[in-house]
Point group: C2
Chain length 342, copies 2
């Protein structure tokens, strides 16, 4: 059997309570005894029993992560960044993928809570675009960090997100100053927040600069609800070939995601349309797809790695300084990452 707190206590010639204090509240014990205890701990290679500890409501050094699609490179980058910083701090992550299933989201959350996770990080939760967001109007026993969600946090909840607007706007401005008309916003059919935001921004931009409908249109990828699956590349390819065959074909296009941007690139190549000389294309996310395709895709960088690190660091901060008043909302701006297609 492994070494217990009482073994350490005996070794250091103190009571178990003192050992416990040294571990959980070091200031409460005189530095002389503390050092004796500490050396006894390291000498005996003592590690507190995880379950006895959890039973008494201490930290469990675990945080639950809910990702809509852990398989998607976009999520992977965020999850990985979180994992990097947390695991190196001795905090381990439970990872669950709940897709669009709000029932799973609820179940996984409850199971996390039951395991006394020190925090829950939800990356684009399924109920996010829903009227009754699961994490809204509810009090949880641990902080909830919402990543890339567009709601106002309350209570012990936090939001960390990348603001898509600066990047999108930067592209719009470039289109104007470089006179890349007609411009086309190419989206999926689903009414996701991300798509809605781009539409709203386009409207604002058109109004501000009196851009005509002919010079700035929105095209929706037909017959396709899930534009985040791999076949979005080929659907886009087929569909966009028709768009490019049109006499008033676009001079520049912003795709709703990188899969779609890839499809456009292929369509253009097959039609002998030079990118970016005859057709400029911009994607959004900055995943490995945009970095490894050819030509490398100019894309709106959503800084997922930074976002993941911020979320993890925020948690570590909350934990280490429970009394410190934290910002509830952390936003970093997106920007264009210029490569070869725009």
């Amino acid at each position: 059997m492994s070494i217990k707190i009482r073994d350490v206590a005996k070794l250091a010639g103190v009571s178990t309570a003192t050992v416990s204090r040294v571990i959980n509240d070091p200031e409460k014990v005189r530095s002389g005894t503390r050092q004796r205890v500490e050396s006894a701990i390291s000498k005996s290679n003592y590690k507190p029993n995880y379950f006895a500890r959890g039973l008494n409501n201490g930290f469990t050094d675990s945080v639950g992560i809910l990702a809509a699609y852990a398989i998607n490179p976009y999520f992977t980058e965020i999850v990985n960044a979180i994992e990097q910083v947390l695991s190196r701090n001795g905090v381990y992550i439970y990872l669950c993928s709940c897709e669009t299933n709000t029932e799973l989201e609820k179940r996984y959350t409850e199971d996390f809570l039951e395991r006394n996770t020190d925090a829950i990080i939800a990356i684009e939760s399924p109920s996010m675009n829903t009227v009754d967001n699961y994490f809204l109007n509810k009090q949880f026993k641990c902080p909830i960090i919402l990543v890339n969600q567009h709601i106002e946090p309350f209570g012990d909840n936090y939001v960390v997100r990348c603001d898509q607007e600066p990047g999108v706007w930067e592209m719009f401005e470039q289109v104007r100053s470089r006179n890349l008309f007609p411009f086309c916003l190419f989206l999926g059919k689903d009414a996701s927040y991300s798509f809605l935001l781009k539409e709203a921004l386009l409207k604002k931009w058109k109004k501000k600069y009196h851009v005509s409908d002919k010079d700035a249109q929105i095209i929706h990828l037909e017959k396709m609800r899930d534009t985040s699956g791999e076949d979005a590349v080929w659907h886009t390819h087929d569909y966009f070939k028709k768009v490019l065959a049109t006499p008033a074909r676009p001079r520049a296009v912003l795709a709703g995601n990188e899969l779609m941007a890839l499809g456009i690139l292929v369509a253009a190549r097959e039609l002998g349309i030079a990118v970016p000389e005859e057709l400029a294309v911009v994607g959004i996310d900055n995943t490995l797809l945009s970095r490894t395709c050819s030509p490398p895709l100019t894309t709106i960088d959503l800084h997922m790695k930074d976002i993941g690190q911020m979320a993890a660091n925020l948690y570590m901060d909350i934990r280490k300084n429970p009394d410190k008043k934290q910002e509830k909302v952390h936003i970093i701006p997106s920007n264009l990452s210029y490569r070869k297609t725009f």
Copy 2:
């Protein structure tokens, strides 16, 4: 406060011991009382406290996953498949990325063990290619499932892997029957098992069919140790352009991974060399990269999703049937996934 075992006991008019038995060892209690207890459990929505349970060495419904590079799509597909089947069974995964760091591997493993994980699944552990594989010559208190590792399991350890040989050999045979010479095996400089295997297979093939050195050569990507990083695409591109400028340029090439295959594709396109008519290229893994590139890459499918599911199902099986004698090694064959480049 939440509902405890004694509340359920009171509700059912039995002792806490009986409730505990109903949960952990149902046959030990008469069906009449069992039903009363079961209905009390569901009526009160009782869930056993995770930590009290763990303190008594029951199942913790958690398994630790060690992935060398969780960020790499190859690993992501395996991890995701595991997570899908386990989480739907109420078993949650701890995910850690240990890269090439054997110290981290050791530390994470110990921490998992401390949390009484019901199993540990290691996907290509860092110490795998090392003389002293961490999981070898050691007895752990939970089963260890080694994924895609080429060692003989012992004790309570298991191996689930995809055999690369059939896929590689299938390609070699095609090269011969379709007379795609000269053939080139394009690898990194590191002596990974995967690269070594392909070299050995090539040697065997050359010998069997008396293929000359001129017709079948191995080229190593120079000045690059880590061929699994994204820039492998562009290093390969630069390097392979020179190879293709050579008079005796290859007619077919098997790349060491898909990043490298991508680089070759781009190099060929830029030089106006038609794929697959003038240059056939095959990758290995079958990640989203090969499915979304253009033209879609013919690749050796390592069936990562199946591998992940097998590993997870194996664990569930071990758990549900502790007495059943399990196969220690589970191997599925690879095969060529024909797309447009070969």
